[in-house]
């Protein structure tokens, strides 16, 4: 079984925001909401780097751990999804997430939070695959169609990779070997961290 992950190659990201646009368009997310964003560090100075970031679908997901109504679940492929029918909009997932992934679109007065929205790895939600409700609440379910996340698929420089961890880290490793630099897997330690490393160590 594949383990789905995102990987952003900062040596390649040109901050075009194509991934952000692709995501917004594919899922028809509400105004003011971005499930994905591109962050540029050292903007305008030598050594500038950009990284596209969204929900990383963490191995030991903090959002899942702190949700008071337990509305999150992780698929067999490691994709972290949530049930908007259960979500109460408390914002704890936003407190816990290191990547700032959870978004709250239906905010009321005084910053009152509506139901949380976040990147689904283009895998929809608990509703029936390809149903109208699923699309309305979570966006397109591309994984169920046998496709990968659109942000990565549409990335012009192939900086953003989304898919099976084994496959995308092979691609990345090859790149690092060829260019001899840029081996920083930004966010991977945070998202897939020590437990995963320990687990993989135990297997081999």
């Amino acid at each position: 079984m594949a383990r789905m992950k995102f990987l952003c190659d900062a040596e390649r990201c040109i901050e075009c925001n194509g991934c952000v646009t692709a995501c917004k368009n594919e899922h028809e997310v509400p105004w003011g909401i971005s499930r994905r964003r591109v962050v540029t560090l050292n903007d305008g100075v030598p050594g500038e780097r950009s990284v596209s970031v969204a929900c990383m679908h963490c191995t030991d997901a903090p959002c899942m751990a702190v949700c008071p109504v337990d509305c999150f679940y992780q698929t067999d492929e490691g994709v972290v999804l949530h049930d908007k029918d259960l979500c109460i909009g408390c914002g704890y997932c936003f407190y816990a997430c290191p990547f700032g992934a959870p978004q709250f679109p239906q905010g009321g007065a005084f910053g009152m939070r509506g139901k949380m929205d976040k990147c689904t790895f283009c895998a929809g939600g608990p509703e029936k695959d390809h149903s109208a409700e699923e699309f309305k609440k979570y966006g397109r379910n591309r994984l169920a169609e046998g496709k990968l996340p659109l942000c990565a698929e549409m990335c012009a420089t192939k900086a953003l990779l989304g898919g099976d961890a084994e496959a995308i880290s092979n691609i990345y490793r090859e790149r690092v070997l060829k260019r001899g630099k840029g081996a920083d897997l930004i966010g991977w330690g945070t998202a897939y961290g020590k437990r995963e490393a320990a687990k993989e160590g135990g297997k081999s």
Binding site: N17, V20, G32, S34, R37, V38, V39, T40, L41, N42, D43, P46, G47, R49, V51, V53, P62, A65, V66, C67, P68, V69, D70, C71, D83, D85, L86, I88, G89, C90, G91, Y95, A96, C97, P98, F99, G100, Q103, F110, G111, R113, E166, S169, N170, R173, V176, L177, G180, K181, G182, A183, D184, I186, G187, T190, A197, E200, G201, K203, S204
Partner: protein, 335 residues
Amino acid sequence: MKSILAFMQGLLVAALLGAVSAVAADAPAQAQAKEAHNQAQLWRDARSGQAGITTVRGPESGVLIQSGGETWRELRNGPISLYGGIALCAVVVAIGLFYLRRGMIRLTAPPTGRHIERFSSVERVAHWSMAISFVILAISGLVLLFGKHVLLPVIGYTLFSWLAAIGKNLHNFIGPLFLLSIIVSFFLFVKDNFWKAEDANWIAKAGGLLDGEHVPSWRFNFGEKFMFWFGVVFLGLAVSISGLIMDFPNFGQTRDTLQTVNIIHAVGALLFVCLMLGHIYIGTIGMEGAYAAMRTGQVDETWAKEHHELWYNQARQQPAEPTKAGQGSTAAAHS
């Protein structure tokens, strides 16, 4: 795992290649090495929450990685839930044991039938505003912290989510009212909550709680004063202010702030609930006449004498009949 090892090897090779090329060409190599160094620094900064530039608007949207959430999660799901839960259970058990030992503390002498006003209507309104909002906040707060482990397995996801949603909204809307009732209560009750010499005696004898010994006190005994200063004033303000910061996230609070105040809120609230369980117990089934005092504002003279003798003596010196001293006597009965 093989792939990881291969990856590490790759990195090593890459590093070596970098080193070799650095020896071969001087100036550009130095620039490259500097850039590599900057890069390492860049990712370190990013991991420690240094903000970059992004077109997406929102609080801290430029921050790539915020690591404080992990600490918050570990504290909340770890010691706060564990020790908080243990403390709550321990308090309930302790109260149960105390009840088994003392039962309801009854009056020793028969009631006289003559009543003294202990709480004015304004004081009672303030108290019950505080009490009712506290109970709602406490229950909804406990549901958010422990419900997932205690209630959810029993009533199921859908019903629990409904309950939690109602709880969250009640919590958010009643919170500010609670703060208001605390402020009003502070000004109403503060004058009788200052230290008096007799409080030392009360502390020494633990208020006669265990052996039933009579310990004279003024309008409020030291237990009540402790409840006032540590409970209502200190914990009340700590919980309310931290709550308000989370209740109105539209002022651009950072996650770091929210995480910190949430910890303060949770610890303070758990302590507060533990304390109030004791207060509610002694104010209801723990002591005869205590609930009626806050319900009606009146206490029997026997009750006053047995529980607050100094206050009773003082109140008696200026009889409560409105015919004689009118306003003056009412004021005296309060103080």
